[in-house]
Amino acid sequence: MIWLGRLLAIAAKETRQLARDRVTFGMIIGVPILQMLLFGYAINFDVRDVDAVVLDQSRTAMSRQLVGDLQATQVIRVVRQADSERELREIMQSGAAKVGIIIVADLERRLFEGDRPAVQLLVDGSQPGLEDLAQGLGSMPVLRRAGAASLEIPRFDIRTEYNPARRTAVQIVPALVGTILTMTMVIFTSGAIVRERERGNLELLITTPVTRGQLLIGKLLPYVAIGLIQTTLILVVGGALFGVPMVGSLLDLYLGALVFIAAALALGLFISTIAQTQFQAFQMAFVTMLPSILLSGFMFPFEGMPEFAQVIAQVLPLTHFNEIIRGVVLRGATLGDMRIPLLKLVLFLVVMFALALARFRKRLD
């Protein structure tokens, strides 16, 4: 009872200070909303209206029809016409067009014979995400209306499960929960202890009967609440703005989030036992943040990563949480289905907190 009393005293003090720190308080609400608008609207893997340059050496009704069809997909937008292959390459080199379309002079004959490609698509490989678009355009049945060649039946019937409209926001917003929590949780906690060390409060606190556990857990408790508030905020706004569904159980989601929040806080706590100043703490938090965002599968699939990056990704709590939250929110998975990433999260939490506790001494040396 006494043990809990001190812990709650620290938690209450921390909450009171947080409530008085308007900038931090604003960030708790502001950062998730801002990030969500940024990521939700700006990141879009469905590429549209890519500037294209056309070199039409055929100049027939059919070639014009072909260009019209391509434009009608809204994937490309013809911005320039070139008169020679050299001009087309110059335009692409300047960046004025990302896609070049070369229609050969004997277009109609090649289409009838069907043994050689009639159209060449040049794609700017210096930009990410454009090759897929070329693949898509390339397999387009351009001849349907020309009525000339056989209608090919596609070999595979492709359906995108759990995100039938293939909207990027649906993939991004749930994963955004973990990304934003990583940012706020790690930065806030790593700063929370170091700030008291810098201001001299810690020297007084550690000369009282308060234990390390009371001090560390008491400091973390308010941030757990903040983390849950941020989670709710992201899911509610994500649902309202981007139509992100909530397929699984809310209880599973919040339990998963709770474990992840604790893991992120433990990481922040560990950082705070190493950093001497708030600036150092911030830098260290940042060092853990970038790999989290890049390697956790938030934007890029693991399958494309080299093995060592996959190993690093396995250590990051965000990787496992992204798996859990996408599973629960989009696929309707239960925590039981997600037990492996969940266990990995718990393991990270236990190890990190033990490390922080072992490093934190009620001493100055």
Binding site: K13, R199, K362, L364
Partner: protein, 317 residues
């Protein structure tokens, strides 16, 4: 007479720096014990070792009957510590800070209210009890810090330069509160670099470069000073100082307004005569008189004079 603190050969290194160098310390209960010394003399390091914040490199310390740092947690329940820097929370009010510290010391709700009210009254914090600590003046903060350090009625108070940011009137009031605490049986260890504060202590240790240069009651220290104190009054003290500089029998000089205190070797046979002869050419009308040592003289004799043989030795080598 039981001891509140007892330390033997207490030593602390920071890398190559020896901050505290084999201190022996005996602090009696229910007294004010002072650490007098310049910055860097090891006052804070010693206090921090006594409350378990730093582990001694060598030596032992017993605080309130418990070995430190081994039983530091037990000691911490009976100990009040006032850090050199204000270390309560700037963004909490006076009352909130006090209530928080009460809860840290696990006082129950009723006791918390009683103690907080009592300390606010005792240390005259009532007129700004609702203000945030960050907006208080130096004297107000220091009273708040003392109030917070005494909430759990500690047997021992460790005060690390408590008055360094406080004006003279507040310093006087502060010392009155310390005597009130001692009257109730509290032991106080206080570090300072103010002579007038050192003079108020029951006992005193003069610290110099990590060692205790002199120890005892202030009056006794003045009597036992290892020098003869001569006071010179003269219109042109600058000329006097110039004339006496480098004279072997003169160990140090300190100006106090229009008077000059000259510390001379104890073995000098006729120090007044010697000085009079030296000054005849510079200040014929000078009044030269042997006086009792002030604490300042004791401090100078204990700290600066120890430097000279070493410095000379270093030069010779």
């Amino acid at each position: 007479m039981t001891l509140a603190i007892s330390a033997r050969s207490l030593t602390r290194h920071f890398g190559a720096v020896i901050a505290v160098d084999g201190i022996d310390l005996d602090v009696p209960r229910a007294q004010i014990y002072g650490f007098l010394g310049p910055n860097g003399s090891g006052k804070s390091t010693t206090i921090r070792m006594l409350c378990g914040l730093l582990v001694p490199t060598r030596g032992t310390a017993t605080v309130l009957g418990h070995s430190v740092p081994r039983e530091a947690e037990t000691v911490r329940r009976k100990l009040g510590y006032m850090t050199q820097r204000f270390s309560l929370w700037d963004d909490l009010t006076v009352t909130e800070n006090l209530d928080f510290m009460c809860r840290i010391y696990s006082l129950d709700r009723a006791t918390r209210r009683l103690r907080t009210e009592d300390r606010i009254r005792t240390y005259d914090l009532g007129s700004f009890a609702g203000r945030r600590a960050g907006t208080l003046s130096g004297g107000q903060r220091q009273r708040l810090a003392l109030a917070a350090a005494t909430l759990h009625d500690p047997e021992l108070l460790l005060l690390d330069e408590p008055t360094s940011a406080v004006d003279p009137q507040n310093r006087r009031d502060f010392w009155e509160s310390l005597f009130a605490l001692v009257a109730h049986g509290t032991t106080i260890l206080v570090s300072t670099h103010y002579m007038d504060e050192a003079e108020r202590c029951h006992r005193l240790a003069i610290l110099d470069r990590g060692r205790i240069a002199a120890e005892g009651e202030p009056k006794q220290l003045a009597r036992d000073i290892d020098a003869i104190v001569i006071e010179i009054e003269c219109a042109d003290l600058t000329a006097v100082r110039r004339a006496l500089a480098g004279v072997p029998a003169v160990r140090s000089m300190a100006q106090l307004g229009r008077r000059l205190h000259v510390l001379m070797r104890r073995d000098a046979t006729d120090p007044e005569g010697e000085l009079r002869a030296l000054l005849a050419a510079h200040c014929a009308e000078a009044s030269i008189e042997r006086v009792g040592a002030t604490l300042e003289d004791v401090f100078v004799a204990a700290t600066r004079l120890r430097t000279e043989p070493t410095a000379a030795g270093a030069r010779a080598a």
